[in-house]
């Protein structure tokens, strides 16, 4: 059995807005191994969050996943669909994107769970925290009992149900068992007095406590892969440290894999074994933490690392990346390497030769992939173009 729980291939998500087509995620490849934390790091607008949403098929219109495969390892599911969807099965893996909608929905919970950046807006302010978690538990419980007919409360809530509920309000959706399980989960994520806290509303929780509650909700389905999208960005450092400790602990004990998305390189360093760096919708560099942090090849990765002040060893001056994050509007994106106009090492072929940066190339180490001309050749300072020269090459084109 191979040790990848998730293999993402060629994932491309675009938004078709009134201003034009936005290429949010372009041909993204990565693997997530059993029991590891895989980090995705990038600046805002680099496509990190859209990648996360694409994995669990939650991209909303006007966005659409236009191509790509998300292979998830599940022998039973593969067996079940081998005949009905032969294209979607490869050994023990199923391509989540080619499975029927109901199955995909069923997978959210036992296969994938997500926690988002802002816990306050992820929870319903008018329902108690305990009930919201219990609801997630209930959905999972029912889904397991009857995998084909999973329904959450809101789905299929028609006039009939409304009448029944108003006449018989005791006909609750959530069973007592799920309520109890919700309290257990709250205790599991380190919330003191879980029984009492379960009856409180989100506004009575602090930010850190709410994020813990979100984690509890994500654990409801005992997921194989936990997708954490900026889970600590809204929190203070001391609370961030608590949540990171909690995630590490849960990941080890529950044997989950985690996809951790953040812009904070420190969080990546603490949590992840392997990292992908995203820029303008592409994964520009990917490898182990050591590869990416100690031997970065892509000038963007180098620039990112040079931009952050070190708390232990302050450099007198930072070396930021010049310029701003590029527009992802299709019409405004050229054929050249997207980083070329900010890149201090850009050469003529970066601006003209499309092939060179199309596919990520391996450095001598096969697991360290870089989408840059410099992946397999040495940098020669004399070849680098100044900003004026860059303009010239672009306008010549």
């Amino acid at each position: 059995m191979s040790d990848e729980i998730l293999k993402v291939r060629d994932l491309t998500t675009r938004f078709f807005t009134e201003e034009g087509q936005v290429n949010a995620v372009e041909h993204v490849d990565f693997d997530v191994r059993d029991g590891e934390v895989f980090g995705i790091v990038g600046e805002s607008g680099s496509g990190k969050s859209v990648t996360a949403l694409s994995l669990i098929d939650l991209v909303e219109t006007p966005g659409r996943i236009v191509e790509g495969e998300v292979w998830y390892r599940d022998a039973d599911l593969a067996e079940e669909h081998r005949d009905s969807h032969p294209d979607a099965v490869d050994g023990d893996y199923v391509d989540v994107r080619q499975l029927p909608e109901a199955t995909r929905r069923w997978l959210r919970g036992p296969a994938f769970a997500t926690i988002f950046q802002d816990p306050m807006s992820s929870l319903n302010p008018s329902i108690t925290v305990g009930e919201q978690i219990a609801e997630a538990v209930e959905v999972q419980r029912r889904a397991r009992a009857n995998p084909r007919r999973t329904r959450s409360r809101t789905q299929g809530y028609g006039l009939g149900r409304l009448l029944v509920d108003s006449v018989l309000p005791s006909q609750g959706y959530v069973s007592d068992e799920s309520q109890e399980r919700a309290v257990e989960l709250l205790e599991r994520v380190g919330i003191p007095d879980p029984e009492q806290r379960a009856d409180e509303y989100p506004h009575e929780f602090s930010g850190g406590m709410l994020q813990r509650a979100m984690v509890a909700q994500a654990l409801a389905g005992e997921p194989d892969v936990l997708i954490a999208d900026e889970p600590t960005t809204a929190l203070d450092v001391t609370i961030q440290a608590q949540i990171l400790n909690l995630l590490t602990e849960l990941q080890e004990e529950e044997d989950m894999s985690v996809v951790l998305i953040t812009h904070n390189l420190g969080v990546i360093a603490r949590m992840c074994q392997r990292v992908g760096v995203m820029y303008a919708g592409e994964v520009v560099e990917r490898g182990s933490l050591e590869d990416v942090f100690e031997n970065p090849v892509h000038p963007y990765t180098e620039g990112l690392l040079g931009s952050i002040p070190d708390v232990e060893d302050p450099a007198p001056r930072l070396s930021p990346i010049e310029g701003n994050v590029p527009s992802l509007l299709d019409a405004e994106m050229g054929d050249e390497c997207y980083f070329a106009d900010r890149c201090p090492k850009a050469m003529e072929s970066c601006l003209t030769d499309i092939e060179e940066h199309e596919a990520p190339a391996a450095t001598d180490d096969t697991d360290h992939l870089v989408r840059c001309i410099l992946a397999d050749r040495e940098y020669d300072e004399s070849e680098a173009l100044g900003s004026a020269a860059k303009q010239e090459v672009i306008s010549d084109d």
């Binding site: 406590m209 608590q242 390189l265 420190g266």
Partner: protein, 507 residues
């Protein structure tokens, strides 16, 4: 590192801003209904007695978790909010009782840059108007009567007469004065191929705002330089210059904020703060909303501006690595009070306050060695500023609470006892549960680390809890375990070096 850590930069010891005992309470619950119901007004003590100096030319960092009163301190000391109590002296004068004229001068000399570059710029004004707004309000450009005006004359070939120049008195509105003299270059030449002959004069810089005319007198020429630009035009020119200074382009003065990215907007905010030639700028989380690569650009810019204009900064931030990078001294705030204040290197390398230690410990570093580092975190959240803990405010989370001298107990166990005491005092324990589990068994569960006499006292208290008598229980525990951390607030007044360590361990 030793205590003799070298100073980052030599800063003058003269305090530009002296904050003493500053308090800002927000009243709450004082409405009519509350009064009818006889409820007492409680106030949120956002800033509760803060004292520090900002020295001329330095960058003082103000760090802490959200809700600890950093931004309120910054805004109150600029008198953007009225202080509840305390004084702020700016250049020796108390900001809170300035007359109108001095207040207006203070408003020019002290500026602020806000955190959110999206909500701090008026979307209906062009960036030129935004930057120039302060100048307009303060009636600038104004001519300074003490500034002399002069011209640098260039006489080209063909002019064979003596040339005299007179310069308008208000030239300094357009031209920056250097050493008390506003100087402008003027060239005089003979008109070419002109029937009437004659001469012409041009101003070589600021040509769009200045004009020069030549008058032929008997033996010599007289050139007169006048300011022709309107106040609006002069302000716009200056706004353009400022935009250029902060890394934008001067021809963008007519653009609107929505045309800019977050980093560029923050630069506009900085240009606005610079427009009145301030001495002191409060930077309220100026880079928190920015991406790391852009954040580094803005930090470098702030560094350069400080050198060029001799600015003094109060830098409010929650990101400790940014603070370490830019600040000369750092004040760490916790729940409305200063916990520790000292030179940056000392704070980061030899923190004395347990809260500073915990903060530093929590920061994830972007390096491979960070992988899998387990951090001993602070438990719980910051308590409510409505009802802050007595004594030392950090004591409810502090890993180093001081046990009473006559009680022998190890640190972890004491922390657990303190947690139990808090629960008892808040009446949070369930008497039935304590009764059912038996007080001794409950004690082993809640406070496993104690034995002997201490255990006896806790058991006794828990028995009282089992009977529902929380008061007796709390008193029993208090008699035995009361610590100096809860009875006495630590001393947080700056010492002779302006340093603070508000902790009993330090005494």
């Amino acid at each position: 590192m030793t205590e003799a850590a070298p100073e980052r930069e030599s800063t003058g010891d003269d305090a530009l801003v002296e904050v003493r005992n500053l308090r800002k309470y927000y009243d709450d619950g004082g409405g009519l209904l509350d009064r009818v119901l006889g409820r007492e007004a409680t106030s949120v003590k956002a800033v509760d007695g803060v004292s520090f100096d900002v020295r001329e030319g330095e960058t003082l960092g103000l760090v802490g978790e959200s809700g600890c009163g950093k931004s309120t301190t910054g805004e109150t000391l600029l008198r953007l909010r009225e202080a509840t109590d305390g004084t702020v002296a700016f250049d020796g004068e108390n900001v809170f009782d300035l007359d109108d004229e001095s207040m207006s001068s203070f408003r020019r000399r002290a500026q602020i840059v806000f955190q959110d570059p999206f909500s701090s710029l008026d979307p209906r004004m062009t960036v030129g108007a935004i930057v120039a707004e302060g100048m307009r309000i303060h009636g600038l450009p104004k001519s300074d009567p003490t500034v002399a005006t002069a011209a640098e004359l260039t006489v080209e070939d063909g002019v064979d007469r003596t040339v005299e120049v007179s310069v308008a008195d208000d030239l300094d509105r357009v031209v920056e004065a250097e050493e008390g003299v506003a100087r402008v270059p003027v060239s005089v030449r003979k008109r070419e191929a002109d029937e009437e002959g004659g001469y012409e004069a041009t101003v070589d810089s600021h040509a769009d705002l200045l004009d020069a005319t030549v008058e032929e007198r008997e033996a010599d020429l007289h050139v007169e330089v006048t300011v022709t630009g309107s106040d609006g035009a002069i302000r716009k020119k200056r706004a353009g210059d400022l935009l250029e200074r902060v890394g934008l382009s001067a021809d963008q003065v007519d653009r609107y904020p929505h045309e800019y990215s977050g980093g560029q907007r923050q630069r506009v905010g900085i240009a606005r703060a610079l427009a009145l030639d301030p001495e002191f700028i409060v930077l309220d989380e100026p880079v928190s909303a920015l991406d790391v690569s852009v954040q580094a650009q803005v930090l470098n810019l702030l560094d350069d501006l400080q050198d060029d204009f001799g600015l003094t900064y109060l830098f409010i931030a929650h990101d400790l690595s940014v603070v370490r990078h830019i600040c000369d001294r750092v004040a760490v705030m916790y729940l409305g009070k200063v916990a520790e204040l000292g030179p940056t290197d000392q704070i980061f390398e030899n923190p004395d306050h347990p809260y500073t230690e915990a903060l530093l410990e929590s920061v994830p570093r972007a390096e491979v060695g960070e992988q899998g580092r387990r951090v001993s975190t602070l438990a719980g959240d910051v308590p409510s500023p409505r009802n802050p803990p007595s004594g030392c405010r950090f004591r409810t989370r502090c890993p180093k609470v001081i046990p009473p001298e006559d009680v022998e107990i190890d640190q972890d166990a004491f922390r657990e006892v303190m947690n139990l005491r808090e629960e008892v005092e808040a009446g949070n324990l369930d008497p039935d549960e304590v009764r059912e589990t038996e007080p001794a068994a409950y004690r082993k569960e809640a406070v496993p680390g104690i034995a002997g006499e201490n255990a006896g006292v806790v058991d006794e208290a828990l028995e009282a809890v089992a009977d529902g008598d929380f008061e007796t229980a709390a008193e029993t525990l208090r008699d035995r375990f009361e610590t100096v951390c809860e009875t006495t607030p630590p001393d947080d007044a700056p010492d002779a070096d302006g340093e603070v360590v508000a902790c009993h361990l330090h005494d």
